[in-house]
Assembly symmetry: C2
C-alpha cells in the first residue's frame, strides 16, 4: 500500500469534529477505499480548551502554520470569505498542498482565482461540503451530468429556512415565533441573517451555477431575497391552491443569459422539491436531453457535512484529477446575466384591501391594463369597512408586467399593505 496521506485540519467545530471522528473510527475501511491510510498530522482551533468528544494530537496554535507543515492536504473549516480562511487556503496552495474546504462564502467570492492558483500548481481544491452537506451535488455537476449540458439547477439549499417554512406550515404559527423556536432548538443561529436573508443560499447557488454553466462564480449578478416577509396566511393560501412555499436558489440558462435568483417560490405539491421537509436539502438538475434528476438528504450538521469532506479527502488519496470547477479555471467565462424582468412565470399575489365595493374591480383592472390575466382567486371573509385578503394566481406573465401592475395597485387608497408577490417554480 502507498504511504499514508497526511491531513491537517483547521477548525474543530461541528464539522471538523465530525471529520476527525470519521477518519479515526473508520480508519481501516477508508484506507481500503482510498488505497492508502489517511493520517491527521496536525489540527488547529481557536479554542484549544473546549471540551470535545474526540481526541486528537499535535495541536498547532497558529492555523497558518498548517500551510507550511508536512501535511499533503489542508482541510479548511474556519469559514468566512476573507481573513484567516482565505490566507490559509492561499498559503496552502502556494506551498503545494491540496485543499479541502466547506467554505462557500470564500469560493463564491474568490473561487476563480483560487482555482487558478490550485491548477497552476497541479493541486486539488475540493469543496463538496460547501453545498448541500452530504448530497454529492458538486461531484454530480462536475463529473456525472455533463454529457448533455445543464439547462437549470434549482434547490433548497438552506436547512434553517426550510425548517422554518415547514414548521410554519405544520403549526400555523408566524415567522417570528417559529424563528425563535428554531434558535432555541439549534436549527437557527443567534444571528440568523445569513440564513434567513438568503445569503447562504446565494453562496451555494453561485457555486452550483459555476459548475453547471462553466462561468466564474458570480454573486453580483444574482437577485437575492430571504424568507422574512412570509406570513402564515400565505402558506395557508398556497396550500389551498395546491402549492408549498419554499426558499429556492435557481440558476437557469436562458436565451438572454444566465438567470440566478434566490427567493421564495410556490412549488406544486407532490413535486420532488415540494416534499423536501424540515432541515433537509434537495436539488433538481435539468440535464438537457437526459432529463431531470433530483437529489435529497441532510444538508448540514456534523455527520452529513463530514461525509462530504471525507469523500473529498479520499478522492485526493486516490489521485483524483480534474479541474476545480469542472473546466480549467482560466477558461471559466464571465457570466452574462439574463433579462430577468422578461422571464415568464405564473405568480401568487396577495392584497390586503379595505372591504369596500369596487376594490376587486380596481385590482382586476390594473392587472388587465398590464396584460396580466388571472387564473384563480380566493376572497375570504367579509368585514365591511375593514381589511381583508384577496389572493390570486395569475397565468404566465413577464415579471416586469406583474411588477408594473402591483405598483399601480399599491398606490390605491383601498390597499392597506405592500402586495405580496411569489412566483411559481416548476420543480
Amino acid at each position: 500500500m502507498n504511504s499514508p496521506l497526511k491531513i491537517a485540519i483547521a477548525g474543530l467545530g461541528t464539522v471538523g469534529g465530525g471529520v476527525v471522528k470519521a477518519l479515526t473510527s473508520r480508519h481501516a475501511a477508508l484506507a481500503a477505499q482510498a488505497g492508502r491510510g489517511i493520517e491527521i498530522v496536525a489540527v488547529s482551533a481557536r479554542d484549544t480548551k473546549k471540551k470535545r468528544d474526540f481526541e486528537v494530537g499535535n495541536w498547532v496554535a497558529d492555523p497558518m502554520a498548517l500551510a507550511s507543515g508536512d501535511a499533503d492536504v489542508v482541510v479548511e473549516l474556519i469559514g468566512g470569505e476573507e481573513g484567516v480562511a482565505r490566507k490559509l487556503v492561499e498559503a496552502a496552495l502556494e506551498n503545494g498542498k491540496h485543499v479541502v474546504t466547506a467554505n462557500k462564502a470564500l469560493l463564491a467570492k474568490h473561487g476563480k482565482r483560487l482555482a487558478e492558483l490550485a491548477e497552476k500548481n497541479n493541486l486539488q481544491l475540493k469543496f463538496e461540503a460547501a453545498v448541500a452537506g452530504g448530497i454529492p451535488v458538486v461531484s454530480i455537476l462536475r463529473e456525472a451530468l455533463i454529457a448533455h449540458g445543464v439547462d437549470a439547477v434549482k434547490g433548497i439549499l438552506n436547512g434553517t429556512c426550510n425548517y422554518i417554512l415547514t414548521e410554519m406550515e405544520v403549526s400555523g404559527r408566524g415567522f417570528a415565533e417559529v424563528l425563535k423556536d428554531a434558535q432555541a432548538k439549534g436549527y437557527a443561529e443567534a444571528d440568523p441573517t445569513l440564513d434567513i436573508g438568503g445569503g447562504d443560499t446565494a453562496h451555494k447557488l453561485a457555486l452550483l451555477s459555476s459548475l453547471a454553466f462553466g462561468t466564474a462564480p458570480d454573486l453580483a449578478n444574482m437577485k437575492v431575497e430571504g424568507i422574512e416577509q412570509i406570513t402564515a396566511a400565505d402558506i395557508g393560501f398556497a396550500s389551498e391552491f395546491g402549492f408549498r412555499i419554499k426558499l429556492l436558489g435557481v440558476a437557469r440558462q436562458t436565451s438572454s443569459g444566465i438567470d440566478q435568483r434566490v427567493h421564495l417560490a410556490m412549488v406544486r405539491a407532490r413535486t420532488p422539491l415540494a416534499n423536501v421537509d424540515g432541515a433537509a436539502n434537495g436539488v433538481v438538475v435539468d440535464a438537457g436531453e437526459a432529463g431531470s434528476f433530483f437529489f435529497s438528504g441532510r444538508g448540514a450538521g456534523e455527520a452529513p457535512t463530514a461525509s462530504a469532506v471525507v469523500s473529498d479527502i479520499v478522492e485526493i488519496a486516490r489521485g483524483s484529477f480534474g479541474p476545480v470547477f469542472g473546466r480549467p479555471a482560466a477558461s471559466l467565462k464571465t457570466l452574462v446575466p439574463a433579462d430577468s424582468g422578461a422571464a415568464l412565470s405564473a405568480y401568487y399575489l396577495r392584497f390586503e384591501v379595505l372591504d369596500v365595493p369596487g376594490v376587486l374591480a380596481e385590482i382586476a383592472g390594473r392587472l388587465s391594463e398590464a396584460n396580466v390575466s388571472i387564473e384563480s382567486m380566493i376572497q375570504r371573509g367579509r368585514a365591511p369597512g375593514e381589511s381583508v385578503a384577496i389572493v390570486m394566481i395569475t397565468h404566465e406573465s413577464p415579471q416586469y408586467a406583474v411588477e408594473r401592475a402591483l405598483k399601480a395597485i399599491a398606490a390605491s387608497d383601498k390597499v392597506r399593505a405592500r402586495p405580496c408577490m411569489i412566483p411559481m417554480e416548476a420543480a
Copy 2:
C-alpha cells in the same frame, strides 16, 4: 492540451447511438471538461446496414478486433453475461485498454474477476450506465457516501416494472392488459421476462450491494420475485391503506449478514420512493450517521444512459483512479447472507375466501397461533356463498411466522386462492 483519448464502441443500439451523438455534438464542451479531446476511432455493430440518425466512420466487422486496435478505451454496449460481450471485455483488459460498459448481467456474474483483471493491469473498468441510467448512483456509492458506511441501499431500478405498476394504479387495469400496452408503446420488450421477472433489478442490486458493502457481487444469495402476480385489487387496497406497491431491490446489512431481495413492497405514500412514477428510477441510500439520501431520474433510454457512459469516459480522460468496486477487487469479501426468515416486517395480506360464517375467525386464529397480530383490516362486499377478499395489515412480525400462518390458512377449504403477501418497506 493532452493528446485525445481514443474510443472504440461495440454495439450501436439505442445507448451506443446516444453516446456517439453526445460525443459528436458536444465535442468541444466535453474536451474542455475532460482536459483533452475524445475521438471515436472505431465502431462495431451487428447490423451494419441499419439506418441510423448519426454518422460515424471506421466500421469494424468483428467487435473482437476493437480489443486489439489503437483505442485507449473500449465501450462495451453489446450486453449479455457471456458470449461476445464477456470475451471483448476480457480481451480489452488483457490488451491494456480501459473498459466502459453498461452490462449489468456481465458484472453481476463476473464482476470480481473482471475487476481483478483490470486492477492487475492498472486499468479502469467503469459501469455507471449499468445501474439506474443517468442517476450517478455507482459513483455516489463508490466515492461520495463512504465516510460512515452504508446500512442499506434500496431502489426502484427497473423502469418497465415501475411503468406497469404506475399505469395499473392510474387506470385500474389488470397486469396483462397494461403489459401489452407497455409493449406497444416500447416501454416493455417483446420478451419482457428479464424485466418483469425481477432479473434485471437483481443484476443491478448485486452491483449496488457490492459497492455498498465491499462484497463480491452475488446473485446466488438473493431472493428474487417479479411483478407478474400483482392484481389491480392489491394496488387499490394498498392505496386505501395509504401505500403504493413498488418493485424494490433492497440490500441491507443485518446482524446476521447481508439481506438481498427483489420483490414487490408496500411503500408509504409521500415517501420518496413512493413518488417515483412511470419509467423513472429512484434509489435510497441509508448512509449511517450521515442519514438517508435519495436520488431519482430517468433510469433508461438513449440520453440518460449515454449520459452515464460519457461521464465514465470523461473520468478516464481526466485520469480517474480508484478500484472498480470501491475497494481493491482482491479484497472484496464473500457475501454472508442474512437469515431473511427472521427479518421483522409488517405485511399486507389478501385472502380470497368463501363468504361463509367463521372464515374471518379461522384466518385470525391461524395468524394468532403464529403470533402474528393484525393492525387493520378491510372486508369489502358481501356475497354469501361466493368469493370475497379479506385484506389485512399486520404488525411487525418475522417473515417465517407469517409464512407459517399463510400455509395453514391456504390449506383451509374456505380459502379460494393462494394468499397474497407483500412486505412493507420503510422508504
